[in-house]
């Protein structure tokens, strides 16, 4: 069995030499690295020799770092699949009834409110997912900067956070690009200001933003139960 000082040395190797930056990956690889080192010690090697052999066996810095990259890519892909599955569920029976009602509600609201309110609501809905991460960010800031604790991000949390970028794309496609196109090509931004065109279109856009936000919140809930806490 390795001492806590020896484990700290192996942990440092993974953090500094292989740039392991996520808790899940670090825990798993540290256990493997430590098990290989323990076997070397049992075979009669010193800790330094055994850990060096173990490091090479693990694939050295680049090989180990590659394991983390592949895991991240896999989770990113999995998150997209799961998010899309949630969206598709909204269009299956009987949930589709609620979805349609939300669409009708968006249409009725679009006719009643001033044209200024809808784009603001659209942007608020698109960027809402980032707010879910605020408590965790504050906690992380507190641990790292105030309490000076070395903390690692959770890979799962990072991947779910990356999924929130689709809100940026929505804003880019619906608000920024049409506004820029209006300025450069028509000298009248309002001509391409999508929310100025038709009540039906405004309602449809707001509905898309609602759908995105609700499905994201559901994805966030699903994933956070699997562990998000940085340690």
């Amino acid at each position: 069995m390795l001492t806590s000082d020896q484990l700290a040395v192996l942990r440092q190797d993974l953090l500094e030499e292989a740039n392991i930056s996520y808790k899940e990956v670090l825990d798993e690889l540290l256990d493997h690295y430590a098990s290989l080192t323990e076997r070397g010690i049992d075979e009669g090697y010193s800790f330094d020799e055994a850990s060096r052999k173990a490091w090479i066996s693990l694939g050295s810095g680049q090989g180990i770092s590659h394991i983390q990259e592949r895991y991240k890519k896999l989770l990113l892909k999995q998150m997209q699949v799961q998010h899309w599955a949630i969206v598709r569920r909204y269009f299956r029976w009987p949930t589709i009834i609620t979805t349609l009602l939300a669409g009708v509600l968006a249409y009725l609201a679009a006719g009643k409110v001033s044209p200024f309110v809808l784009p603001v609501a659209f942007m608020a809905l698109s960027f809402f997912p980032y707010l879910l991460f605020l408590p965790g960010e504050v906690r992380l800031f507190w641990q790292q900067r105030v309490r000076r604790h070395q903390t690692l991000h959770s890979l799962r949390r990072e991947v779910v956070y990356r999924q929130a970028r689709y809100g940026n794309y929505l804003c880019l496609a619906v608000i920024q690009v049409p506004a820029l196109a209006g300025i450069f090509f028509l000298n009248d931004p309002k001509r391409l200001y999508l929310f100025e065109w038709h009540t039906g279109l405004s309602a449809a856009l707001t509905f898309v933003a609602m759908l995105y936000t609700l499905s994201y919140v559901e994805l966030y809930k699903q994933q956070s139960t699997k562990g998000f806490t940085p340690v």
């Binding site: 069995m1 806590s4 825990d27 798993e28 690889l29 256990d31 430590a34 066996s57 592949r70």
Partner: protein, 114 residues
């Protein structure tokens, strides 16, 4: 056995091997899997960590494996075990690979025609 040719042959069957080992045991961790394969094949076959972990993570992402962690000797150990779907899938994939190997064997043992 040549290690490089071994690893290319292993590529397609690694996930089935993992499923088979987990069928046999309730739960296993990464290092334990590599050692078990080494022991079973008397050191002829080795699974590299660079191949093992992506395969384990993929099986977990596909919902065939589930994980739990325990603190062992001062460090966190991640155990993998088969899910219900994993048990069903394991049986199917093992049978498929066994049938493939049987056919491959027939071809490899082909006697030269006179």
């Amino acid at each position: 056995m040549n290690t490089s040719s071994n690893s290319s042959l292993l590529k397609g069957s690694l996930s089935v091997m993992i499923l088979r080992l987990l069928e046999d045991r309730e739960k296993m961790y990464g290092y334990e899997i590599t050692q078990k394969v080494k022991d079973l094949t008397a050191g002829e076959m080795t699974i590299t960590e660079g191949a093992l972990y992506p395969a384990l993570h993929k099986l977990e992402a596909d919902g065939l494996l589930t994980t739990e962690t325990q603190i062992v000797d001062g460090r966190t150990r991640k155990y993998y075990s088969l899910t219900k779907t994993g048990h069903t899938e394991a049986a199917g994939r093992i049978a498929e690979l066994a049938a493939f190997l049987e056919n491959l064997n027939l071809v490899l043992k082909l006697k030269p025609s006179m």
